[in-house]
């Protein structure tokens, strides 16, 4: 309760332009916003850009924050939108085109679904991370974002929907497709590493 009051007070002060209160908010939330930015962008430079843009937006738009969600959720939403915008720009393609191009319907075939016993035990942590990163990189942004928010960051379906401003049904569909895609890709990459195809 004390924390809630002090956060409300900090926001109110920051909305009036109090620099100390603004610093306190930046200090409190920048580590978590950087973490999500890094996960989404997958490199330090872009994560730093997203971080800075997010807090510049916070400072410029804080007077429009009405407290309907927590400030963290609000910042989180800003950061993911900034990150998605940058990813789209980077790829320089129309988002809807890349989204539809991937043949997700073929990914849920049951005959490719079995995970070989103890496969991952044959790899060290670094190899496994490499595999996970490759699979995540290949996942279209819309799916990767949902997977990161739901399965890695642990947000609920409702919260993920709010952050991304999409319906809960849409979150579920994207999550299902992301999981199936990742499963198939991780299996593929682990087998490639095992065969020495990545210069192991």
């Amino acid at each position: 309760m004390t924390e809630e009051i002090s956060e409300k007070t900090l926001i109110a002060l920051a909305q009036k332009g109090n620099k100390k209160a603004t610093s306190a908010l930046v200090n409190k939330y920048s580590p978590r916003i950087y973490a999500i930015a890094f996960r989404l962008m997958q490199n330090e430079e872009d994560a730093e850009d997203v971080l800075q843009e997010t807090f510049i937006i916070m400072i410029n738009k804080l007077d429009t924050f009405e407290g309907k969600s927590t400030l963290y959720t609000w910042l989180y939403r800003v950061a993911t939108n900034v990150a998605l915008g940058k990813l789209r720009k980077k790829k320089n393609v129309d988002d809807s085109v890349s989204y539809d191009k991937v043949e997700f319907e073929n990914l849920s075939t049951l005959d490719h679904a079995e995970w070989p016993d103890h496969l991952e035990e044959k790899f060290n942590t670094e190899e496994f991370r490499e595999c996970l990163n490759k699979a995540l990189e290949e996942l279209p942004d819309h799916y990767r974002t949902v997977f990161i928010l739901r399965d890695l960051e642990g947000h609920s379906t409702r919260n993920t929907a709010k952050i991304l401003d999409i319906s809960e049904a849409n979150v579920k569909v994207r999550l299902m497709r992301a999981r199936l895609y990742l499963r198939d890709q991780m299996l593929h990459h682990l087998k490639c590493i095992q065969r020495g195809e990545y210069g192991r």
């Binding site: 620099k19 100390k20 603004t22 610093s23 306190a24 930046v26 200090n27 920048s30 580590p31 950087y34 973490a35 890094f38 996960r39 330090e44 994560a47 730093e48 971080l51 800075q52 807090f55 510049i56 400072i59 849920s108 049951l110 679904a113 079995e114 995970w115 991952e120 942590t125 496994f128 991370r129 595999c131 996970l132 997977f147 739901r150 399965d151 890695l152 379906t157 579920k172 999550l175 299902m176 999981r179 199936l180 990742l182 499963r183 991780m186």
Partner: protein, 78 residues
């Protein structure tokens, strides 16, 4: 037939996402037990999620990044 498989796959993924109530989970658990392919499918997706969580790592903000952030915002670091 394909429709029912799709419906089941959707339900299974909702189950993995813990988005359905206990009684539906129990109904599904009964159905899954009778379907070898469903067990394989659910287990492999569950496995993927667990492995992704295990392979994930804590991201810490570098001090230099934090310093530049405060500079860019024209604020003093606390």
């Amino acid at each position: 037939m394909e429709d029912s498989i799709k419906k089941l796959t959707d339900l299974l993924n909702n189950k993995l996402g813990e988005d359905i109530d206990d009684s539906t989970v129990n109904d599904l658990a009964g159905l899954i037990k009778q379907c070898e392919d469903c067990i394989i499918n659910v287990d492999s997706v569950k496995h993927t999620i667990n492995l992704a969580r295990t392979g994930d790592f804590e991201v810490l903000i570098p001090q230099s990044v934090s310093k530049r952030l405060f500079e860019a915002l024209g604020l003093d670091e606390e």
